[in-house]
Amino acid sequence: MNTNTSKSRFIVLVNIENKPYVSDPEGETILRDLIMEEGYSVVESVRTAKSLKMIVRAKNPKQAEKMVMKICEKLRIFNPIISSCTVNVVKSLP
């Protein structure tokens, strides 16, 4: 994948979290033993996730997102069996 010629740079945020039907013991523990314990009853649910912030060169935001997603899939940065992965450009850099 040759992207060296692309001029624009983007900050891409990758968010990896367990699929909705897969449990998340860490999030459950934070909710139960911390938030609820301290009486913050307005919070209904906590889900933890792993996020990566990448600065990438690409032609446009769409291409940046597509490329990052491809890298994450190819290198098994997440396991599609249990996790969902979302990729979003959060900022264009000069």
Binding site: S23, D24, P25, L75, I81, I82
Partner: protein, 733 residues
């Protein structure tokens, strides 16, 4: 979702006298899955010998119990988590550890050690894609086991790993656990009417629904619904809370929740206590709203236990559970009769005899022997000293032989301060027990030999696992087995399964060893077909005194002896595998008389204190055994190969044949040892050389070689570290 066959549906309808409801069908099909019911294997494995003076009969259902003296009992169990690990190696292997720990816990015993047997595709092979996937599996399976075991404070003390082309895009993850308890604390599973049924631990969610049906099918495409997420901290609380409840006498009966979830657990415990149960599913503490009764009863959410207590002890139990901050729910009670009555919000939705749910109709599967896969012929091999030298290093570097340090260094093997022999130091792991004795424990497998010849291959594993126990000074007490095969519906595979079972019966009856526990796992297949037949056998032995604990490391200036004959038995050998000859040669045959005679001789030598170091001779053959003893002791050897009792047709066969029942030992009491061995009629042995510490080279002499094969400590050690080298070269896959 019904998984019943047409015949089973008919049988169920006949028994009920009506059409089963959708809910009943869900419960019955979970329990009648191959995974829970053993419907294909039960008739065969019933024939395993299971009695000895150590075995405590009639109690154990989830794990076996052995009386080890002075009021102490050991619990042992083996489980696998192959399907889940193949799709989600981290969570799959971790929840496998959790599951087997709870099997031990459900007897009221404290888990003290874990072992694992792992199988993967080769890490560094021509097929780049499969090898990459294999490294990803190995990395994550190892991490899953390490994280879970380390978090709950149970040491992973040993195991066994095999790499083979038969495991493309798949892996086998077997975990064994050992527990200890005082005899009077063991849960007897006796319960009375009106006792209370508690579900303790993790909340019930939609995770892992239909997991046992999933494990009873082949893996294919995106049909990968059953994934479980480990929560080791909840497991740790569960262990401590349950053991405290056991200690205070507030547990009448107990069972862990595994495959099939509540449906299997409730029906099986009802059968064990010979009483009925009435349970309301709406009382179960759940993770999410809107779960249907079927989802609640089939969920395989982890870290849950079912505890039955009396009305009077109910308050003590809940006090303990609250102290550990564990969630629980009072879901019902023990009732008269033998039915399992399931309610939802007060309405009865199922009322069936537990026995009907628990006992699936057994199946007689067809068996057809396949055409022989192995050609019984010896292959020409060039035997100049330089060729033999290269072969020895190549076999040492084969990850099947090479040091497994990269794997076991990730495990905590010392937590609990009872580990005497750690992984990588000896043929089996040795633990200190409360009664002053020592426990030797080991798992072994050999899918290469079993694939070529399931009967003799399984025999070889049995012989090897016992030799491994003996080589650390232990006397084997009992055997556990885990039989992993492809689909039992394939007559060739079921034939192989039957051969393997026959081997276990024959070996254990001859050696008077009870088979105290086991597991059968079928449908281990991926998109390319079935895996190689992979029975894994475990053994435990006791060592009465610390002086009898043996290690495979040469001292200096000791005489080297071999016990046992070496034959042209190259089938499934690592040498043929490494040199591209896989599929040729004859699988070694265990001569039961020799095996017993040699084992007894070695145990006697240990007790007479004439052995300095000891190693069993198996995978890789004689050359590898000698190198391992040299590396571990930091000393060298001078061996005259002409002196080895053998019927081999070539020097390479002599060096690499995997003939069973052989031991290598070193001694500084050669005269006494010679006299003792000479007195045993029929025993084949000889003195084959000396250990040396001068210089840094080992020598193998043979009259047909114009110069000896010379090995240096550095050469053999570098080759032996190859597994770590491969994994570190490819830090991310």
């Amino acid at each position: 979702m019904s998984e019943l066959t047409a015949g089973e549906t008919k049988y169920l309808r006949k028994k009920l006298g009506r059409k089963p409801s959708a809910f009943e069908l869900d419960v019955v099909s979970a329990e009648w899955s191959e995974h829970c019911s053993y419907k294909s294997s039960k008739k065969l494995i019933r024939k395993f010998p299971n009695r000895s003076k150590f075995v405590i009969p009639g109690l154990a259902s989830d794990a076996a119990l052995l009386d080890i003296g002075l009021g102490y009992v050991l619990a042992i169990h083996i489980e696998s988590h192959n399907h889940p690990s193949a799709v989600e190696p981290y969570g799959g292997s971790a929840t496998g550890v959790g599951g087997v720990i709870r099997d031990i816990l459900s007897l009221g015993a404290r888990p003290i050690a874990l072992l694992n047997a792992l199988r993967f595709y080769p890490l560094d092979n021509a097929n780049k894609r499969y090898s990459q996937s294999s490294r990803w599996l190995l990395r994550n399976v190892t991490k899953g086991i390490a994280d879970y075991g380390n978090c709950i404070g149970v040491p992973t003390v040993g195991g066994e790993v095999e790499f083979d082309r038969g495991f493309s895009n798949y892996c086998l993850v077997d975990v064994a656990a050992i527990g200890i308890s005082k005899r009077e604390k063991i849960i007897r599973n006796r319960s009375n009417k009106r006792d209370i049924v508690f579900l303790v631990g993790g909340a019930t969610g939609r995770d892992g629904i239909h997991g046992s049906s999933f494990a009873s099918k082949k893996l294919s495409g995106e049909d990968r619904s059953a994934v479980q997420i480990p929560d080791p901290f909840t497991e740790k609380l569960l262990i401590e809370a349950v053991l405290e409840a056991v200690d205070r006498g507030c547990v009448n009966a107990m069972k862990d929740l595994g495959g099939g979830g509540l449906s299997c657990c409730l029906s099986e415990i009802s059968e064990t206590i010979s009483k009925g149960l009435e349970v309301d599913l709406s009382k179960v503490h759940v993770k999410e709203d809107g779960m249907s009764p079927s989802e609640i009863i089939l969920s395989e959410s982890q870290e849950r236990m079912l505890v039955i207590t009396s009305q009077t002890n109910q308050a003590y139990l809940t006090e303990i559970l609250s102290k550990y901050n564990l969630s629980y729910s009072n879901i019902g009670s023990v009732i008269e009769g033998k039915n399992l009555v399931i309610k939802y919000a007060g309405d009865v939705i199922m009322n069936l005899p537990s026995e009907l749910i628990c006992r699936a109709p057994l199946i007689d599967r067809d068996t057809i022997p396949p055409e022989s896969k192995s050609e019984d012929r010896n292959l020409y091999f060039r035997e100049r000293p330089s060729d033999l030298y290269k072969s020895i290093l190549k076999v040492l570097a084969n990850p099947n032989i090479a040091s497994k340090k990269w794997i076991y260094e990730q495990f905590d093997h010392e937590v609990g301060i009872r580990t005497v022999l750690k992984p990588g130091t000896a043929d089996s792991s040795v633990l200190r027990l409360e009664n002053g004795k020592y426990l030797a424990v080991k798992l072994d497998g050999n899918s290469k030999q079993c694939d070529l010849d399931p009967y003799h291959g399984t025999m070889c594993i049995l012989s090897e696992v016992c030799r491994n126990i003996i080589s650390t000074g232990g006397k084997p007490l009992a055997i556990i087995d885990h039989l992993q095969f492809g689909s039992p519906e394939n007559a060739h595979i079921f034939w192989a399964f039957k051969q393997s079972v026959r081997a276990i019966i024959n070996y254990c009856e001859f050696m008077r060893l009870p088979v105290v526990g086991g597991k059968v796992s079928f449908y281990n297949e991926n998109n390319l077909g079935p895996i190689k037949h992979s029975p894994v056998i475990g053994s435990i032995g006791l060592i009465d005194r610390s002086e009898w604990i043996m290690m495979p490391r040469f001292g200096s200036e000791e005489s080297i002896f071999i016990i046992g004959n070496t034959k042209d038995e190259m089938g499934g050998s690592e040498f043929y595998e490494t040199t591209g000859r896989a599929g040729n040669g004859k699988v070694p045959i265990v001569d039961l008389n020799d095996d017993m005679r040699n084992a007894k001789a070695v145990l006697r030598l240990i007790r007479e204190d004439v052995v300095s170091s000891l190693h069993d001779c198996s995978k890789g053959g004689l050359a590898i055994t000698l190198c391992e003893m040299a590396m571990r002791g930091g000393n060298n050897f001078q061996v005259d190969l002409d002196k080895i009792p053998n019927s081999c047709s070539s020097i390479s066969n002599l060096l690499f044949s995997e003939t069973p029942s052989r031991y290598i030992l070193s001694t500084n009491k050669r005269k006494r040892l010679n006299t003792m061995l000479s007195a045993i009629s029929g025993l084949e042995f000889s003195e084959i050389g000396m250990t040396t510490n001068n210089g840094s080279e080992s020598f193998l002499h043979h009259s047909k070689l114009n110069s000896p094969v010379i090995l240096t400590q550095k050469n053999i050690t570098d080759s032996y570290e190859n597994l770590g080298t491969i994994m570190e070269r490819t830090p991310v896959d």
